[in-house]
């Protein structure tokens, strides 16, 4: 057997050999695929802003601060829609957060093993139901029934000063509150899922420490689990807020389509995504630009909230690993 010459060995070891070209090509294809998300995101920002620009240019800052939305007269003040989005999202979050935390605590601290998967299944089912089905139910079933409830509450609260502004009479069952209720139901699964994961990271040792001192389970939760989880929970809440703000179809069906800034939660209103859903198809010119502009505002808002939420969750992760 002849000894391999130095050159031959050299080239055998250093040469690129077969497959190098394919590897490089594959890598480029994969990179391109990865960059696609960036591309799409950039395209969204660019194209929508461009289309909406005429409206921004025309209205200036009053686009965001004025309540005069008159497409026929070329006036586009979106404040009422921004208000509507804000109110519905806040109601949704205020309702969903305690419920989600309760469910998450139940699943992680209280429920026996067999119940846990049953409950998470129910949550998954809740998350799977499409938004339009919730909207349909809200419009055809909930709306007629809830009107009576609203009016009963309004009557009950009538003599009380501040409350009677917030819970006033309801013309139809469509209102900020109805939209808030349904959106709250819809964002519950995601807040539950994230807070559940947050609670699962609380170290067993710490929980045992509290219990070993003679704390009841609730005292242990209050003293150890919740303090540990504050930034994680805040992140989950913000993510839920972002989801609530972007919810379109369910809100479109139950909010009532009357843009107005009123304190009465039982009154009709309008929100950014729903006014777009109802009108974009038939719009043109400046009106169309203004509606697309609302989409831009929505996009910016949800992205900012999302980034804030992730920053909170990352900080939560770091606290955990640092401490």
């Amino acid at each position: 057997m002849a000894l391999a010459t130095k050159e031959k060995t050299d080239s055998a070891l250093t040469g690129n050999g077969r497959g190098a070209g394919a590897d490089k090509a594959f890598r480029i294809v994969a990179l391109a695929a990865g960059l696609t998300t960036l591309l799409v995101l950039a395209a969204i920002v660019f194209s929508t802003t461009q289309r909406a620009w005429p409206a921004f240019a025309k209205m200036g800052l009053s686009y965001l601060t004025s309540t005069d939305w008159n497409p026929n007269q070329g006036q586009f003040g979106a404040l009422a829609f921004i208000y509507g989005t804000f109110v519905v999202s806040v109601i949704a979050v205020v309702l969903a957060v305690p419920i989600s935390i309760g469910i998450a605590l139940f699943v992680t601290e209280v429920a026996p093993r067999r119940l846990r998967s049953a409950i998470t299944t129910v949550m998954d089912l809740l998350a799977a139901v499409p938004s339009v089905v919730f909207g349909l139910w809200g419009f055809l079933v909930l709306r007629p029934q809830i009107k009576g409830i609203y009016n009963s509450i309004a009557d009950f609260v009538h003599p009380i000063p501040v409350l009677n502004r917030v819970f006033g009479p309801s013309l139809s069952g469509q209102s900020f509150m109805t939209a808030g209720l349904i959106v709250g139901l819809m964002i519950t699964p995601i807040i539950t899922s994230i807070t559940r994961e947050v609670f699962l990271t609380v170290p067993r040792n710490d929980k045992d420490g509290a219990l070993a001192l003679g704390a009841t389970r609730w005292e242990m939760i209050k003293g150890v689990v919740l303090p540990y989880s504050t930034s994680g929970i805040s992140g989950a809440v913000m993510l839920g807020l972002g989801r609530a703000m972007g919810e379109t179809i369910a809100i479109a069906l139950v909010i009532g389509g009357s843009p107005q800034i009123v304190a009465n939660l039982f009154a009709q209103g309008e929100a950014m995504p729903s006014v777009i859903a109802h009108n974009l198809n038939e719009s043109s010119g400046d009106y169309q630009a203004a509606l697309i502009g609302l989409g831009v505002v929505l996009f910016v808002l949800t992205v900012v909230i999302n980034i804030g939420a992730r920053a909170l969750v990352i900080r939560f992760d770091r606290n955990l690993k640092g401490a």
């Binding site: 093993r113 040792n205 710490d206 045992d208 003679g214 704390a215």
Partner: protein
């Protein structure tokens, strides 16, 4: 080889049973020993088995824990020492599928009686864990946690100071009580955990390898601490460190595992429980002798 024993629940008389030697040892002691077996029995364990699901982790344990003594559970890892320890304060309840058979009485009361509330049990029987687990609160709030939930409204300052003095930590932290407990060193954190446990005035303190996560100097300080506080509390300690057991304990319970030939299931068993001097100088069971002389383990 008999691993059981036979002891009455109340004070003094120890029945002399042939194969097991728990007689009062009247030969002169070498160094410190607490008095002989005249301390009352606090825990009496009979035929205790602990199951996780259908798996029997430890079987047929029987031993007494006496007041004002330090009882050490020794033996190789995985033979059920911590499992048995956690039975004394009902902490095993927290594990899904954990089940206990046999009897474990505390001052004559069956600890696993359905009427007994585990929360009450844990107030009287404290625990210090292997890895120090101070709460992410201030040093003061850590020690005050137990008394606070127990409804102690009055002067917490004094309780906190007392507890910290007793765990030999006061001098080191008295100027920074409001600082976070997480800023302390490992040894200090463990002493804080001991102070925290002491603050609720338990009768018994259970310790699950309290020094295994600490350096030798910190370990030494905690061992000294244990010798001091055993006069006020009854201590049961699980330890891997034989020398530590020899240094600080009055009584030792030696555990090992039995492997079932056919099913290859390992179950923990108590081999013997006796005064420390006897376990180390003149053990009754060959397995004990092999362990304490370092032949295995």
């Amino acid at each position: 080889m008999e691993e059981g024993h036979d002891v009455t629940q109340t004070e003094t008389e120890i029945q002399h049973v042939p194969d097991v030697d728990l007689t009062i040892d009247v030969t002169p002691k070498v160094e410190n020993t607490s008095a002989d077996d005249h301390y009352p029995v606090v825990f009496d364990v009979k035929d205790l088995s602990v199951f996780y699901g259908s798996f029997r982790a430890v079987r047929d344990v029987g031993l007494p824990i006496r007041k004002h003594e330090v009882t050490a559970f020794i033996g190789p890892s995985g033979c059920g020492k911590t499992t048995v320890l956690r039975c004394f304060n009902r902490m095993n309840d927290l594990i899904d599928g954990a089940r206990v058979e046999g009897t474990l009485t505390y001052h004559g009361v069956d600890l696993y009686d359905p009427k007994v509330n585990p929360v009450e049990v844990r107030r009287r029987i404290g625990m210090v864990f292997q890895k120090p687990n101070p709460f992410p609160k201030s040093i003061y709030d850590n020690v005050a946690y137990g008394p606070r939930i127990g409804g102690q409204k009055g002067d917490l300052d004094e309780i906190v100071e007392q507890a910290l003095r007793r765990s030999a930590l006061w001098d080191e932290v008295k100027d920074r009580l409001k600082k976070s407990a997480l800023g302390l060193s490992g040894g200090q954190q463990q002493r804080l955990c001991i102070a925290r446990a002491i603050a609720v005035n338990p009768e018994v303190i259970l310790m699950d390898e309290p020094c295994s996560a600490l350096d030798p100097i910190a370990t030494g300080r905690i061992e000294d601490l244990m010798s001091e506080i055993k006069l006020d509390y009854t201590i049961v300690i699980v330890t891997h460190n034989m020398q530590q057991a020899a240094r600080i304990s009055d009584r030792c319970a030696f555990f090992t595992t039995e492997v079932n030939e056919t099913s290859d299931v390992r179950t923990g068993v108590l081999v013997e429980c006796d005064r420390t001097e006897k376990i180390f100088a003149n053990p009754t069971d060959e397995r004990t002798e092999n362990y304490v002389t370092g032949r295995f383990g």
